[in-house]
C-alpha cells in the first residue's frame, strides 16, 4: 500500500536558516509516530510540512503517491496546531459550528463533541477569549477531531490538559494513524509504534523501548 505521506530529500530553509536538511520520511497507515527533540530544531516545521500546511523549500512531498492525493489526505486528516486555530471572539460552540459548516457537518456533531470534551452548557456559550488554557486546548482538540479524521497530526497535544482527559485522548489515539510532536515523551511513548529524534536538521529513527 502506498504511504500516506512521503518526503524525499526535503529541505526547509527559513530565510538563510536551514531548519531541515535532506529529510526522508514516510507515514504509513496505522503508524503512531512520536517526534521528539529539543526546542527549535524543526519538529513543528516537519509536522507542518507533513500536514501540507507549508511547502518544502526543495525536495518532494507526495500524498498517497498520487497527484490527486492531497485532497483525499486533507479529507482524512485532522491537525492540532501549536496555536489554537480558533477565533477568540466567537464562543466555543460558534467556533465549532463554523468549522463544521466549512466541512458540511451538522450541529449535532458539534453538540456531542462539545459534551465529549467537557465544554457543554455555559462553557460552550462563552467566548474563547475568556477560556482558560485547558479549556482552549480541549476546544482545539474538538476542532481537530470534528470530521472524525483517521489521520492525526498533533503539535503538543497534551499541553494544559488534565490527566483524565489525556487518558481518554490517548485511548482515542490508539486506533488511528498519528504523528505527535511533544515534550511529554512518556505519555506519547505509551501509544507510539515508532519514534524519531529531530535535531541538527536531521530526523533519526530510535528503536522503541531502547530509550
Amino acid at each position: 500500500m502506498a504511504p500516506i505521506v512521503r518526503l524525499s530529500g526535503v529541505d526547509k530553509v527559513y530565510g538563510t536558516r536551514p531548519v531541515l536538511q535532506n529529510i526522508q520520511f514516510e507515514l504509513r497507515e496505522k503508524d503512531r509516530i512520536l517526534l521528539f527533540g529539543p526546542n527549535g530544531v524543526g519538529k513543528s516545521t516537519l509536522l507542518k510540512i507533513l500536514a501540507s500546511l507549508t511547502p518544502p523549500t526543495s525536495g518532494s512531498i507526495s500524498f498517497y503517491e498520487d497527484r490527486a492525493g492531497l485532497r483525499l489526505f486533507r479529507r482524512r486528516m485532522g491537525y492540532l496546531g501549536h496555536e489554537s486555530l480558533l477565533y477568540p471572539d466567537l464562543s466555543g460552540e460558534e467556533n465549532l459550528l463554523f468549522f463544521a459548516a466549512l466541512r458540511g457537518l451538522g450541529r449535532d456533531r458539534c453538540r456531542s463533541l462539545l459534551a465529549q470534551v467537557g465544554l457543554d452548557g455555559e462553557a460552550a456559550q462563552r467566548r474563547v477569549r475568556f477560556y482558560s488554557a485547558g479549556m482552549k486546548q480541549r476546544l482545539s482538540v474538538a476542532r481537530a477531531l470534528l470530521h472524525d479524521p483517521e489521520i492525526l497530526l498533533l503539535d503538543e497535544p497534551f499541553n494544559a490538559l488534565d490527566s483524565g482527559f489525556v487518558s481518554s485522548f490517548l485511548q482515542w489515539i490508539r486506533s488511528r494513524t498519528v504523528v505527535m510532536v511533544t515534550h511529554q515523551v512518556e505519555l506519547a511513548r505509551s501509544v507510539a509504534t515508532r519514534q524519531f529524534e529531530v535535531g541538527n536538521g536531521k530526523v533519526v529513527e530510535k528503536l522503541v523501548g531502547a530509550a
Partner: protein, 226 residues
Amino acid sequence: MREGLNAALAILRKDLVLEVRSREGFLSNLFFALLVLILFNFGFDPGSAAIVEGKAAIFWIAVVFASALTLSRTFQRESAESAIHALALLPLDPAWIFVGKFLTNFCVILLLMTLTLPLFIIFFDVSVSWRMWLLAAVCPLAAAGMAAVGTLFGAMAESTRLREVVVSILLYPIIVPLLIASVQLMRQALKLTGEIENWHWMGMMVVFDLIFFAAALVVFDYVLGE
C-alpha cells in the same frame, strides 16, 4: 463547487459576526473617512469654486483611504490564533477561501461607502437628484475591484511588519484606473460635468474587476503557507 460555495458563505457569515462584535474597528475606519472629508475643506478658501469642482475626487480619496484600513483587518483575525491554518487544510480549492474573504471585504467596503455618502452630501452641500442613482452601479463596481485586489494584498501583507502601511502602498497605485473611473462617474452623478461616456467607464470597471478577481483566484494558493 457546492461545497466550496458553502464554505465561502460560511466564512462571510463568520466574518460579519466578528465585524459586528469588534465594531470599533469599522467605526474607526468610518471616522477616518469623515476626517479626510473635513480636512480637505481646509485645503480650499471658503466658498471657492475649486472645491465644487473637486468634491467627487475628495469623496473617493476618503473612501479609498478608509477602505485600505478595513482590508488589513480581515486576515489579521485569521492569523491571531493561526485559524488560517485550519482554513488552508480544508479539502477544498483555496480559491474558495479567497471568495469568502472577498465577499466580506466587498460588504464592508460597500457599507463604508454607503455611510460616507450622506456625510459627504451634508458637508459638501450636494443637491440630491435622480442622477445619483448612477452611484448604485458605481459603488458596487468600485467596491468589488478594491475588494478583489485588496483581499489578495491583505493576505499578502499579513506577516509583514507595518501591515496597514503595506496594504496601502500596494493598493493605491494598482487601483488608479478604478479611481479615475469612479471619479468620472461621480462627477456625472453630481452634474458637475456634461455627458460623458458612462458605459465606457463602467465597462472599464467591470474589466478591471474581472481581471483582478481572476488573477487573485489563481495566485491565492501561494499566499497561504509559510
